[in-house]
């Protein structure tokens, strides 16, 4: 009786495993279907007003809506505008539109649509772009549009030309509340793919190729996003064709026939400092912290070597305006101690610093933030705590979930916090946003540092400088001053990789400077178009 029960159980389990374990014939991807994995799944509906304000949300919209210009591995390329020029005297950009461009509903795309989009975004702000610098725009014939700037604005091409989705006037002119507008018309664009479905519970998206796309019919007939927190398994089992991966997965995936690609250094982990309170409001103390932190040790212990030390000037060392002469702070505990002692601190009997009998104790906040909207548990906080304590600073390490850490940083309720952001290989406007409160007061990653008038002046000037060489000089100086003042300490650039299945005949790539405003995700629509 017992053995028959046991045998019966075994047979039942084996049958279930065999039957369910065989992959279904009909679920195999047909040719022309592309599947992309995403650990989170939901990034909002793919239109300008309903996608989440993060890179993956913008990417989902970018399949549906085209911009005037776009970027690939080399830099800017034509999109809806096949040519463009800038008249310095008139402060005007002229865009010549591709005459073949049409909307998904068959209506022709004209210069009037571009003029309408600029006006509509002025009335109903789309926060990815800054429209304040645009004076007016006018259509010169069906395929030419001139955009007059109200004042010089150097990031125009990046912020507006390469980021602003052009809207169909015949649909949006009657829409008064774009945030709540969710009719099928809300997803009619001019991009290579037509939006078909978004399942909120499952975090899946379905797009179908737009056969009459003006740059040629896209390669995949169907583009599907699926939620998967296990990219390694999803790739190897053929569930998906493209996924972001962790660096240590690369070897195994290569052996399984996948192609791995590595991004430029476009995201940096940094140590936020509450520079509004003592002793952090003293530049020398911040410099002492920089000397006390051994970034190579953090990389070895926390990232297992998969990272590179970041530039103290904040801009990526891959950026064309990166200043190689930016001051550095080599690991030097002795120098760190000297700097701290020059501020009146003395070592107590337990080896920790004291001033006026008060111990030098600080709180370090940590979370799991990392590149491309992902999260990863690392040991950054532990390593930094060990390094600071070794020179005599007591550290209370507090590990928290990211939203809680961000909230405390935003309210200045912290001493030090490990945080990070991307955009540092895109337009240098990121320097303004991540340094100055005038540009980044609403951000949790911005140092919101206004104590250096010269730095403030340079930041403002670089936004108005239309001459790229002159702008480069300004950006060089900004990096130097950032490295001297250290309102935050850049730590490292984590390796950012993706892997894809080459059998589909598609070459995925990371975009130079990131897609749009610097999105470090290799889902550039040009991979499926050209």
């Amino acid at each position: 009786m017992r053995s028959s029960l046991f045998r019966g159980g075994c047979v039942l389990f084996s049958l279930a495993a065999l039957v369910l374990g065989c992959p279904p014939d009909s679920s195999a991807s047909p040719v022309g279907e592309i599947r992309i994995a995403d650990s989170k799944g939901d990034w909002g509906y793919p239109n300008p007003y309903r996608h989440y304000p993060r890179g993956p949300g913008y990417i989902r919209m970018s399949w549906v809506f085209d911009t005037l210009v776009w970027k690939d591995q080399q830099g800017y390329i034509p999109a809806l505008a096949e040519a463009w020029s800038f008249d310095e005297e008139k402060l005007a950009f002229t865009f010549t539109l591709n005459a073949k461009a049409t909307w998904h509903d068959g209506e022709p795309l004209t210069a009037e649509d571009v003029v309408f989009s600029l006006d509509y975004f002025k009335k109903h702000p789309y926060r990815w772009i800054t429209i304040d610098h645009v004076g007016r725009s006018e259509a010169k014939g069906p395929h030419q549009v001139i955009v007059y700037l109200a004042r010089p604005y150097s990031p125009f091409l990046s912020d507006i030309g390469g980021t602003m989705p052009v809207l169909p006037k015949h649909i949006w002119e009657s829409v008064e509340d774009p945030e709540r507008y969710n009719d099928p018309g809300a997803f009619i664009g001019s991009g290579p793919y037509i939006f078909r479905d978004f399942d909120k519970a499952k975090g899946t998206y379905l797009y179908e190729s737009f056969h009459r796309y003006y740059q040629g019919r896209p390669k995949g007939d169907r583009l599907i996003y699926v939620r998967s927190a296990k990219p390694l398994i999803s790739l190897t089992t053929g569930q998906v064709d493209l996924a972001n991966i962790k660096p240590d997965m690369a070897g195994l995936l290569k052996r399984k026939g996948m192609v791995t690609i590595k991004n430029e250094r476009g995201w940096n982990k940094k140590l936020m400092i509450n520079h509004r309170k003592p002793p952090f409001n003293d530049r020398h103390f911040r410099q002492a912290l920089a000397h006390a932190i051994n970034r190579q040790e953090i990389i070895e212990k926390s990232k297992r070597g998969y990272a590179e030390p970041a530039s103290y000037g904040l801009l990526s060392s891959d950026h064309e305006m990166y200043n190689p002469e930016t001051p550095t702070y080599p690991y030097n505990p002795e120098k760190a101690r000297r700097l701290i002692e020059s501020l009146g601190y003395r070592r107590g009997p337990d080896g920790y610093y004291l001033r006026d009998d008060c111990p030098l104790t600080l709180e370090l906040l940590c979370s799991n933030i990392t590149v491309a909207g992902e999260s990863v548990a690392d040991r950054d906080g532990e390593v930094i705590k060990g390094q600071l304590e070794s020179i005599g600073i007591q550290v209370d390490l507090v590990n928290m979930e990211q939203a809680t850490t961000d909230s405390r940083v935003k309210k200045w309720e912290f001493d030090l916090a490990v945080s990070g952001h991307g955009g540092i290989s895109g337009d240098p406007r990121i320097l303004n946003e991540m340094i100055s409160s005038q540009y980044g007061a609403g951000s949790v990653n911005s140092a919101r540092y206004d104590a250096n008038p010269e730095l403030n002046r340079l930041l403002k000037a670089q936004m108005f400088e239309m001459d790229q060489e002159k702008r480069k000089d300004l950006v060089f100086k900004i990096q130097e001053l950032h490295a001297q003042d250290l309102p935050a300490i850049p730590l490292y650039y984590p390796d950012s990789l993706a892997a894809y299945n080459p059998d589909k005949g598609i070459t995925w790539f990371y975009t130079k400077g990131g897609i749009s405003k610097g999105i470090p995700i290799p889902q550039n629509k040009m991979s499926l178009v050209k």
Binding site: R2, L5, A16, A17, L20, G21, C22, P24, S26, S27, P30, R35, G41, D42, Y45, Y52, P53, R54, Y58, P125, R127, W128, K200, A201, K202, G203, T204, L206, Y225, V226, R227, S228, A229, K230, I233, S234, T236, Q239, G373, Q402, A403, T404, D406, S407, R408, K410, G422, I430, E433, M434, S437, Q438, Y439, A441, G442, S443, V444, N445, S446, I519
Partner: protein, 321 residues
């Protein structure tokens, strides 16, 4: 007399319900952080002070408990900040997947755990019983996260038999039978993880209850009457060992959301656990409130139902109360 008892009973549940509604209103508000900070923290959009103020004003909602209560009673559960969709719709979309996963796991683990527990108690002292109790005690201590990851590694990564994520092949063109088969294929690993988590507890509980019941005189009487052993075990003894299992089943169903959170996250399964996880990470206050309230009401409802089921299974309970 009897009517008065029912009214008291109902009043107690209503009071508990009101406390739960208040907890669902109050607790999510104690979470540090807010939607705007969570949404824009890792954003490519860097907000200026004015923009932030404007967005916060857009998402500000009434802090009044009375308004919250009125909205609930008029079935206005609110609108999710992140999904830009009605809360009730979001919960109803995720619920079937949670029911399929959790309900399936509970029914399977209860049924087989009960049978295995009865059989083990009947064979008390044998090697198979001792081995079974030993194994199940160890398995009872293994958390779902370990089992889930181990099953993923073996059956998805190395053997490649099962998919690693999702509840079905997204947007696959399949026949109705193929669709059912595809869902079962995706369900296999998360279901196995949960069954492995719940089965040992059910087994041990049933075995423990059954060992006590088998000592009772009525079981001896049944044996002495010469009834077949299967009938003695199930018709006479096992029925009396069922009550703790029903309690366990009810409580587990009540914790449907939190119970499946880990497994749903590991397998990217689209249930209420995943929805709650995303809502909390985004600080989507209306959605958190909705899910917390929904799960609280399930706890209440299941407890109420259990009161009556007890009486039906074991008339002594109804008689005593």
């Amino acid at each position: 007399m009897r009517r008065g008892r029912y009214i008291k009973h109902l009043a107690a549940y209503l009071l508990a319900g009101l406390i739960m509604v208040y907890a669902s209103y109050r607790l999510p508000r104690l979470l540090p952080g807010d939607f705007v900070t969570a949404m824009y923290a890792s954003s490519q959009v860097t907000l200026t002070a004015e923009q932030e103020k404007e967005i916060r004003a857009y998402y500000r909602q009434s802090g009044d408990f009375a308004t919250y209560l009125v909205n609930l009673c008029t079935l206005n559960w609110g609108y999710s900040y992140a999904f830009l969709a009605p809360i009730s719709r979001l919960i109803l979309e995720a619920l079937p997947w949670s029911l399929l996963l959790m309900g399936g796991a509970h029914v399977i683990s209860m049924l087989f755990g009960f049978i295995a527990g009865v059989e083990a108690a009947w064979r008390r002292g044998s090697y198979s019983e001792k081995a079974g109790v030993g194994c199940m005690t160890v398995l009872e201590g293994v958390p779902e996260i370990s089992t889930g990851v181990a099953l993923l590694l073996v059956f998805a990564l190395y053997l490649g038999w099962f998919p690693a994520a999702g509840a079905e092949t997204a947007y696959a063109v399949l026949s109705p039978a193929g669709k059912v088969w595809d869902m079962a294929h995706h369900l296999a690993l998360p279901l196995a993880t949960l069954v492995m988590a719940y089965f040992p507890g059910n087994f041990l509980l049933t075995r423990g209850s059954m060992v006590m019941v088998l000592r009772e005189q009525f079981v001896e009487t049944a044996r002495a009457k010469g009834l077949p052993p299967v009938r003695v075990r199930y018709a006479h003894a096992a029925r009396n060992a069922l009550l703790p299992m029903v309690t366990r089943f009810g409580l587990r169903i009540a914790f449907m959301i939190t119970g499946a959170l880990v497994v749903e996250t590991i397998y990217s399964y689209p249930g209420l656990g995943t929805l709650l996880f995303n809502a909390i990470s985004m600080r989507d206050l209306p959605l958190i409130q909705g899910i917390v309230l929904f799960s609280s009401l399930i706890v209440l409802f299941v407890n109420l139902a259990l009161d009556y089921v007890y009486g039906w299974i074991d008339p002594r309970v109804a008689y005593a109360s």
